[in-house]
Symmetry: C2
Subunit: 189 residues, 2 copies
DNA sequence: CGATTATGGAACATTGATGTTCCATGATGG
DNA sequence: CCATCATGGAACATCAATGTTCCATAATCG
């Protein structure tokens, strides 16, 4: 009696996730780590990794898709269209910061958006753009700063904060507080 | 009649520099680029690269030393101990920004300082620390922001600015202006 | 319990980057 | 112009990561 392997639930989905998560952490810290390293980090045999992702590139694509989705849901959760723009930005920072190594990976691999042939403009991108322009309009974000630059600043500061915790042993909430504070100050007109 | 190869001048030094520069540019953009890529970028045979740097690790060490020196002289040029702290920071940003791919490489390889067994605290590091503390003291830099965090901010913003020019085609002076403006705003009390 | 599925590990083939050796050709400089 | 130096390229050896196959064992689930 056969039963097709269920792709979306059960054991199979769980180890898939384990590998994916381990790959994100491992590759975020060392982009040239071997698949053996990833397997070890996932607590799984190297063979198993190949069983789920035939080639390295397949794994990378999967990471791309996974992170795109993660960023998407995370962005939704921040409800960028609600309340004052500057506070929505705060919420977004906090959410992104929670992504941890996932955020790190996304930061270091901006070409990630291309991997899955999404429209170059994700819904998350658009929501952020709307938010920043809203801030421009209602005077809570310095209009001198282009939308693109504000986006760059956001990511760069989050990256700085994340590294700050990793390398200086600063507690996460402290780093996040510094980040939010600095970002606000940089953006106010 | 023998004459030892002169290490510091002439043809030899010139191609060495060419390889070093090409390696910085190439590896800053793709850390896993092959030595063949570096050779091509330098307009030089692969053999020649090995002639100057026996192993890949030798090349990396040399880059480390080269960049440490570059950062050192660049920092000196900014004369951090002269004039108002905030203006000295401006000068430092401008100088670092000029380093281009060299800066990019340094940003992406913070372990660079270890490579050459320097004291963990470079003179450049110390000068920057002094500068920030001076700013704290004379009230031009928000004392809420720890010295380490200000340093992180500085590098992160420069990185953001540099990427901004690379990926958005923004003219360098525009990106630098945005960077300086945002940094000032973030740091003022 | 018994069938199906998931896994780990060994063994092996393939591949691309490395590192080395050698030689012919060009460049340099006294 | 001639001796020395610098270089490029071919040929080769080595190595680590990759990708594949196979099998025994463990986990899962009806």
């Amino acid at each position: 009696m056969y039963r097709k392997p269920m792709d979306e639930t059960g054991t199979r989905a769980r180890t898939r996730r384990a590998i994916l998560d381990a790959a994100v952490s491992t590759l975020a810290r060392n982009p040239s780590a071997s698949l053996a390293d990833v397997a070890a980090a996932a607590g799984v045999g190297r063979t198993t990794v190949h069983r789920y992702f035939r080639e390295r590139s397949d794994l990378l694509s999967a990471i791309g898709a996974h992170l795109m989705e993660l960023v998407a849901t995370t962005t939704e959760r921040a409800r960028l269209d609600d309340g004052p723009a500057i506070e929505a930005l705060d919420r977004l920072c906090q959410e992104y910061f929670e992504l941890g190594d996932g955020f790190l990976f996304a930061f270091e691999n901006p070409q990630l958006a291309d991997w899955e042939s999404w429209d170059s403009e994700t819904e998350a991108d658009q929501a952020l753009t709307r938010l920043i322009e809203r801030g421009h309009a209602d005077g809570t974000i310095d209009p001198t700063l282009s939308t693109a630059w504000v986006g760059s600043l956001l990511w760069a500061m989050l990256y700085a904060a994340w590294q700050h915790t990793r390398e200086q042993g600063v507690p996460k909430h402290t780093a996040l507080r510094l980040c939010l504070h600095s970002l606000r100050k940089a953006l106010t007109p």
